[in-house]
């Protein structure tokens, strides 16, 4: 981000203070200017920030530096074409009174602001559907406020009926009251989940049906809300790595890498060449694994169980292969701030190549069953179509966005770890239907394998750790044999890696889309606040837009095609 870009922002928003933090421009505005600032960022062709990535609140109650108000709300927006990342911060004087909503500008604010209300109790004027999203409907208080005790659990008895919400949705879709009651077109309410084979985890999908056609759809999430963000505030930066495994557990290592990359970018650490290449190889390998599970499960939903064996067996074999490297099948915890846990073992390269060949064979076998299969085509083509505008407005990223025809991929548009030097293509869909979403995942696996082979060819030798005693643990020989090493080890373990005070956002192209981390640091070894920007959350927020007007059976395979992972969705 250069100085002229900053001047451009300052000129466009004279009432605000703008500054550059890492790769993003941070704009501080007063609540009365919030709407006009966000509208300007979205509609001004000079900025063209059409993608609202995330909304989050910050509670400065215990922050060492005093701020003018206790609460702030941060909107993170992106111009995907020109790699422009902007964060708009606004103070909240009275959380009860709140600030104006951004839902009329961005559809992704619908769920983003609900989460801020749920977790911080900050109100948004004119939000059409402001209620709890992650916590249950009987919950009292707001857990991410600093004065909420982390252990104070609240028992929930019963379920929210969602009747008001589905009726509101029917009204929005123009289904008249008389149609609902007419004997021929009477609406039937059908509930899928939270525990249902089609939901791949705990999600509740409530539909209003006319025959088999979905007239309206409302979804409830939060069943796997595990308090990742609150828990992180009590752990040191390295202790959080095992928690990140359990966000998207189908591609755990990608979360590890995305998380440490975000911390390292703020520390200003440049990891060694070898560690960078390792991270590329491993994240691409996990991208393949993630897509394998997604397609395998999606095909089962469609009735093609053979695909499941072809695809899942390769993943199963890869788990054992990964456990040789990391010691665990699923939850890898393989990265550390400043490098990797350890280097590849001897013989890794040949093992990897064998597995890649097996995976290629498995994918090839499966594609043969799918590509010219009339049933697959009939069931997926022109079904659950989502336009590019809607996809952007709902904050979609990753393969689901690319299926709608938007070629946004952070590996190309904001490259990290030398991605610009690898030769690979970003597949883009033409329609945005289920067929595109499946085929893009197939193609991305081939592209990832291409990247892995290139990276393994040019991976340099050397250490996988940087040399910095403030960040990386000393070698075991030093810990056991001299007092400096021992003291260093103790200090790092007890106090954690200390980061300079401040706030930043960093993002990574994970298997499902942009995985971002928003940190607030108070200068200690534990984050003051850590917010994950999960790709799934916003994709699920646009689910109703995809399925309304389609059949109930299409909703099931649509859910499979967008690859919702509970751990990441609900955190």
């Amino acid at each position: 981000m250069n100085a002229t870009a900053l001047e451009k922002f300052q000129a466009a928003f004279p009432d605000a203070t703008c500054k550059v933090v890492l790769e993003s421009v941070v704009i501080n505005v007063q609540p009365d200017k919030l709407e006009s600032t966000l509208a300007g960022l979205k509609n001004d062709p000079a900025f063209n920030c059409g993608l609202l990535l995330d909304v989050t609140g910050i509670d400065y109650k215990d922050y060492p530096e005093t701020t003018d108000t206790r609460f702030y709300v941060v909107y993170t927006v992106r111009n995907w074409q020109d790699n422009l990342l902007v964060q708009v911060r606004t103070p909240v004087v009275d959380p009860e009174k709140g600030i104006p909503t951004a839902t009329h500008l961005f559809d992704s604010a619908l769920w983003g602001e609900r989460e801020v209300w749920d977790q911080y109790g900050i109100n948004f004027h004119n939000h059409p559907d402001l209620r709890r999203i992650l916590n249950h409907y009987q919950f009292e208080g707001h857990p991410l406020r600093k004065d909420y005790d982390i252990r104070k659990g609240q028992v929930c008895i019963g379920n929210d009926s969602l009747e008001k919400e589905i009726r509101a949705r029917l009204a929005i879709n123009g289904v008249a009251e008389s149609t609902m009651k007419d004997i021929n077109t009477e609406i039937m309410f059908l509930n899928l989940g939270p525990s249902h084979p089609a939901t791949h985890g705990a999600i509740r999908i409530l539909t209003a049906l006319d025959g088999e056609t979905i007239m309206a759809n409302v979804n409830e999430i939060g069943y796997l809300h595990r308090g990742f963000e609150k828990t992180s505030e009590n752990l040191t930066y390295n202790q959080i790595i095992p928690l990140t495994d359990r966000l998207n557990y189908c591609s755990s290592m990608m979360n590890n890498i995305a998380y440490v990359k975000a911390v390292e970018s703020w520390l200003g650490v440049e990891i060694t060449e070898r560690a960078q290449f390792m991270r590329v190889v491993l994240s691409e390998f996990y991208r393949v694994l993630d897509h394998l599970v997604c397609i395998a499960a999606n095909m089962v939903d469609m009735g093609g169980l053979t695909n499941y064996w072809y695809l899942y067996n390769e993943k199963e074999a890869a788990y054992d292969f990964i456990s040789r490297l990391t010691g665990a099948r699923l939850t890898s915890s393989f990265t550390r701030i400043g490098g990797m846990y350890r280097d590849f073992y001897e013989g890794w390269e040949s093992d990897l190549e064998l597995h890649l060949r097996d995976i290629e064979k498995g994918i090839g076998d499966s594609i043969k069953l799918v590509l010219k299969n009339r049933i697959v085509h009939d069931r997926t083509k022109d079904v659950c179509v989502l336009s590019a505008e809607d996809a952007l407005s709902f904050g979609f990223t990753g393969p689901t966005l690319r299926a709608s025809g938007v070629p946004f991929d952070l590996r190309k548009d904001a490259p990290y770890y030398n991605y610009e030097s690898f030769d690979f293509d970003v597949p883009v869909g033409s329609k945005g239907d289920i067929y595109d979403r499946i085929m893009i995942r197939f193609e991305e696996m081939f592209q990832s394998i291409r990247i892995i082979r290139q990276a393994m060819k040019s991976i340099p030798d050397g250490s996988v750790f940087i040399e910095d005693s403030q960040i990386v643990l000393p070698p075991k020989a030093d810990v056991y044999n001299n007092i400096e090493g021992l003291a260093n080890h103790f200090k790092l373990i007890f106090e954690g890696v200390k980061t300079p005070a401040g706030e930043w956002y960093d993002s990574f192209e994970a298997a499902n889309g942009e995985l971002g981390f928003h940190f607030v640091s108070d200068g200690s070894g534990r984050p003051y606040k850590l917010k994950v920007r999960p790709p799934c959350f916003y994709i699920m927020g646009g689910f109703h837009k995809m399925v309304e007007g389609n059949m109930i059976a299409d909703a099931v395979i649509n859910l499979g095609s967008i690859n919702i992972i509970g751990g990441e969705l609900d955190r």
């Binding site: 249950h136 985890g201 705990a202 796997l224 809300h225 609150k230 899942y312 509970g566």
Partner: protein, 170 residues
Amino acid sequence: MALGLEAKLGDNVMTSTLDYIVNWGRENSLWPFVYGTACCAIEFMSTAASLHDISRYGAEVVRFSPRQADLLLVCGTVSYKQAPILKRIYEQMPEPKWVIAIGACASSGGIYDNYCTVQGIDTIIPVDVYISGCPPRPEAILDALMKIQDQIKGETVLEDRHKDFKGILD
């Protein structure tokens, strides 16, 4: 002409105990209901896939209706928001029924000691076997299955199990 067993036994009668014959049937045809919420469910998928092949133990008929199942596998974290659903599913299962808590989260809350996570599903429903691990390997899930089979061997069909259980939702 009589075939098979009848050809050998003719009109003879074999005696056994009711418990023995019923338990023999029960332990070798457990029908699991997979309450999969998180990471452990992925490991259950591996358990069911070709390599580990849960059907070797007669438990491959995974049911998605609790009314057709007699083994509840709770794979993953259960939050307070989910607790009433889990309890309802357990109550919908007909007797006799067994429960396995798969993984650290289901057994004790695991690493999530916080405001939203139930600290072990045994605060909601009775549990027969706990598996450690985060997540456990497929072998551990098979081991738990064998433990349930052993437990069934020693049970009597005349007695109601867990009728005095009281959880936080009762």
